[in-house]
């Protein structure tokens, strides 16, 4: 099968407008004859469900949480980018496009990224109209800040809770459509499989998490808006329930999975305290605007700090290594996320890490407090400092914070064409769950932008084209494919419940996380990846022998839920390893030790790897087949990223 990205012809800036005109429309009177399933109610899902319902389609929306408002978009802190140029500082659609393509280390599609930048301006208008309380200036107009090393101020924000406010806006639009009877909402429902009829998606199988009932739902199209798969690493900044199950089941039904090894590791998270740790907490990137990152100059000093023989404040300036400022004088502490993370790892690998575990570096505000005063620092970062103190019991005004990178976002996901359709007709994928816009590294404040762009302004156009093509004849679950898919799900549930071994599912998940973090985390080598692949296979086999799952099928059973998700992660992990092995270059968040510049920076190989790697499932324990979508750059010139 040849991948067709369906990128419209014509100049970059005209592609989307022309494409919108060329897409078929569904007659207003016919829209109510269609049903669309939306899985996931984060920014992408809630905005898509609300927008499609507003157009007149019937929508069935599903989420595993007890309320659509709790999807993990809610936890995004920093902000949302938009090329409004309200600050008159030289921003434009083209600049946002360019920054995003470059930030993604030239591994995203030009046309998609340009469209993202183009519709970004509409998102802010939409959110304000819904009553989202963005930060404002005294004059009453919207405030912006510069974020993540960007040279223009294009980030809109609502204190440190931008994701929450945007999601509540999308949730309110969704509620309005529920009220109008256009959306039927299914909470505490997990999608267990996609149903395809003659190669086209026609519905899904779900499990009601309260009653345990396995149900089938039919529709004219299915939209997966189910987020990223960062929890394959066990510890991440994702919510506990974030999972790959919906995307993985779709993958097994024929949707290609693209660039699975592209994961973003965020540099400023609170370090792990012990084996009991269940998740990691992100400290906003904005802290690096005033905080200085450092580590002790030598391993001997670090050892004394770890033993408690020395305190950070005892160290003289010459015993401190401000390693980001030293190595990157131009960008200093504000280098992109992947660069900052990798450098912290190097320090720890050299034995210079701090904290009782030795797996952390310092983020120090002493200089900022001296320069600005404690009150000014409190005004800027007070809530973050409080959060840090709450978790660590240390006062960051008095001693430097300890930070360490953590898995935060996954750029990879289901392969989609320009219309956001996967390789299965009628099956679409939006938001973090798809692979489309961030290449090998995502810029700060761009995740919220993409989720809402897909849901509010892309899918309402592109889905209509498909629906108009297939026609509005009624759908139901009578086709035997539904019964067959349902039976598979019931069998799978029973298989999991039959596991009565000695190890808990969490123990397997933690082990998988250790393997992924060690060998497919911030630095990857061929040797390590080969080793990890064997380890994952062994772990997966062991899971199906010795795991223990409690309870029964027809009840609220969190043990069963978790087991199903971890079983899928155990399969995805291997594909991530395969993808990382295949890509023998470094780019963005994917750092192969074999491919670096003399100065130790990521070295791309554009001649051999300027493509999206889309993997096709071949059956259990069979090697997947690689399909390449060549990335064609007609507008930007590929260059080596440098932050020196």
């Amino acid at each position: 099968m040849k991948l067709d990205a369906k990128i419209p012809e014509g100049p970059l800036a005209e592609k989307w407008s022309k494409h919108k005109f060329n897409l078929k429309l569904v007659n207003p009177a016919n829209k109510r004859k269609y049903t669309v399933i939306v899985v996931g109610t984060g920014l992408a899902g809630a905005s898509a469900a609300a927008s499609l319902a507003a157009l007149g389609y019937n929508v069935k929306a599903f989420c595993y949480q007890d309320s659509p408002r709790r999807a993990h978009s809610i936890a995004a802190q920093g902000g949302i980018n938009a090329a409004k140029n309200y600050q008159n500082d030289g921003d434009s659609v083209y600049r946002l496009f360019y920054d995003t393509i470059k930030g993604g280390d030239y591994r995203a599609r030009e046309a998609n990224v340009y469209r993202l930048a183009e519709v970004s301006v509409n998102i802010i208008d939409q959110c304000v109209a819904q009553g989202v309380p963005f930060a404002r200036e005294y004059g009453g107009l919207l405030d912006n800040r510069s974020f993540g090393g960007s040279q223009v101020s294009r980030t809109f924000y609502a204190r440190g809770q931008t994701g929450q406010q945007l999601l509540l806006g999308a949730y309110s639009a969704l509620n309005r459509q529920i009220n109008l009877g256009k959306v039927k909402m299914f909470t505490r429902h997990e999608m267990m499989d996609v149903v395809t009829v003659e190669g086209e998606a026609k519905g899904i199988v779900t499990r009601d998490l309260v009653s345990g009932q396995i149900e089938t739902h039919a529709a004219h199209a299915v939209l997966l808006c189910t987020g990223g798969y960062g929890n394959v690493f066990y510890l991440s900044t994702n919510a506990m329930g974030c999972n790959v199950t919906a995307a993985w089941k779709a993958h097994k039904r024929g949707a290609f999975f693209a660039n699975p090894c592209f994961t973003q590791i965020h540099p400023t998270c609170i370090p792990v305290t012990g084996d009991h740790q269940s998740k990691l907490t992100l400290m906003s990137e904005s802290l690096r605007n005033d905080g200085r990152v450092w580590a002790p100059m030598t391993a001997e000093i670090a050892q004394k700090l770890r033993n408690g023989e020395l305190q950070a404040s005892d160290l003289k300036e010459e015993d401190r290594d401000y390693f980001l400022e030293r190595k990157y004088p131009a960008f200093g502490n504000l280098v992109p996320r992947d660069v900052a993370s990798r450098n912290a790892k190097e320090i720890v690998d050299e034995g210079r890490g701090v904290g009782s575990s030795g797996i952390a570096v310092y983020l120090d505000f002493a200089e900022a407090i001296g320069r600005l005063g404690e009150d000014a620092v409190r005004a800027r970062y007070g809530n973050l400092f409080d959060m840090y103190q709450q978790i660590t019991d240390e006062n960051p005004y008095k001693q430097p914070m300890r930070i360490y990178p953590a898995v935060h976002y996954t750029m990879g996901g289901l392969w989609v064409d320009y219309n956001l359709q996967t390789t299965v007709k009628g099956l679409y994928c939006l938001g973090e769950a798809n692979f489309s816009d961030h290449g090998a590294n995502r810029l700060g404040a761009s995740a919220l932008m993409q989720g809402l762009a897909d849901g509010y302004f892309v899918i309402p156009y592109t889905l209509g084209d498909y629906l108009a093509t297939i026609g509005p004849s009624p759908v139901d679950t009578k086709n035997p494919a539904f019964e067959e898919a349902k039976k598979n799900v019931v069998d799978r549930v029973n298989q999991l419940l039959a596991l009565k071994g000695t190890k808990t599912v969490t123990e397997y998940h933690r082990e998988l996380g250790h393997i992924m973090w060690e060998y497919c985390g911030m630095a990857r080598t061929e040797e390590g990846l080969i080793k990890a692949k064997a380890m994952i296979r062994e772990l997966r086999a062991d899971f199906w022998e010795n795991a223990r799952v409690s309870g029964s099928a027809n009840e609220f059973n969190q043990s069963l839920e978790n087991a199903g998700r971890v079983a899928d992660f155990l399969e995805l992990g291997e594909l991530m390893i395969d993808d990382a092995l295949n890509r023998k270059e470094s780019c963005g968040g994917h750092f192969r030790l074999e491919s670096q510049t003399e100065e130790g920076e990521a070295l791309r190989d554009d001649n051999h790897y300027a493509y999206a790697a889309a993997w096709e499932y071949q059956g259990d324990n069979q090697p997947e087949v690689l399909h390449k979508e060549e990335l064609i750059f007609e507008n930007v010139k590929l260059s080596q990223r440098s932050y020196k």
């Binding site: 309380p133 009991h276 269940s278 609220f556």
Partner: protein, 250 residues
């Protein structure tokens, strides 16, 4: 630390629940409260017992999934945080900790410590929105909103919908929750056209769900993890009376 836990166990909505005592040993003060329960659940699973069910998701205090009445207080002994942000260093060695679900008729128990809070969603569905379709809206800077007004609306909008206000209230009233949403939209110019219709619809749904009345004890404000003010309730009452007296048709 070694702790004794008295945990509410209830198989489902139709069966009677009871307290069961568990021993939690070797608890690290660095654990969060939910991580402590995770460890207890790992032991229960290995022993072949059903783990304790509770709602949780983001574990950073923003999704509003986690609940738990801990020693008689929603989200435990500390001010301004959710259960997932509570750490075991807030307890002492050999403490006995009593853990219950939210108690309110409108929040029926699903299992153990997890309750059904869908009543909150239904209240929001009744009117917690501004009726705009996607697209066709004015430029975001077309309406200037004074910073103090925007900030005040934001303060109301920080509600995470956890239900602690209901759990804290002796009447199981949902007034703080409903008034926070009503206030956010009533404060903003975009919310004016539906202001009186909204408050009536949301209050009617709140009553239909079986929440109790407000008697101004202020327990909701004291226990709210986001420290949402009861000024919101006053604001909602004012709008509700205005609506009923002179603006009913809006």
């Amino acid at each position: 630390m070694n702790l004794t836990l008295k945990v509410w166990r209830q198989k489902n909505a139709d069966t009677k629940g009871k307290f069961v005592t568990y021993q939690a040993d070797h608890v690290s003060p660095d654990m969060s409260f939910l991580e402590m329960l995770d460890v207890v659940n790992e032991d229960l699973t290995k022993k072949g017992d059903d783990p304790i069910h509770f709602d949780h998701d983001c574990r950073e205090g923003i999704c509003g999934s986690c609940s738990l009445h801990i020693n008689g207080r929603p989200h435990g002994p500390k001010q301004g945080i959710t259960t997932c942000q509570l750490h075991m260093r807030s307890f002492n060695d050999k403490d006995t900790i009593v853990i219950e679900p939210w108690r309110a008729e409108a929040f029926p128990v699903i299992k153990d410590l997890a309750v059904d809070r869908s009543a909150f969603d239904r209240i929001q569905t009744a009117g917690g929105f501004i009726s705009v379709n996607t697209g066709g809206v004015p430029d975001a800077n077309a309406i200037a909103i004074p910073k103090v007004v925007a900030d005040e609306a934001f303060n109301s909008a920080t509600c995470i919908g956890c239900g602690a206000c209901v759990a804290a209230c002796k009447n199981a009233s949902a007034m703080l929750f409903v008034s926070a949403k009503v206030s956010q939209l009533a404060l903003l110019p975009q919310g004016q056209p539906e202001r009186y219709r909204r408050v009536q619809a949301m209050v009617a749904q709140m009553d239909a769900e079986g929440f109790g009345s407000c008697t101004n004890t202020g327990a909701c404000e004291a226990e709210c993890p986001k420290e949402i003010s009861i000024t919101n309730i006053a604001r909602m009452n004012r709008d509700y009376f205005t609506a009923k007296l002179i603006k009913q048709e809006e």
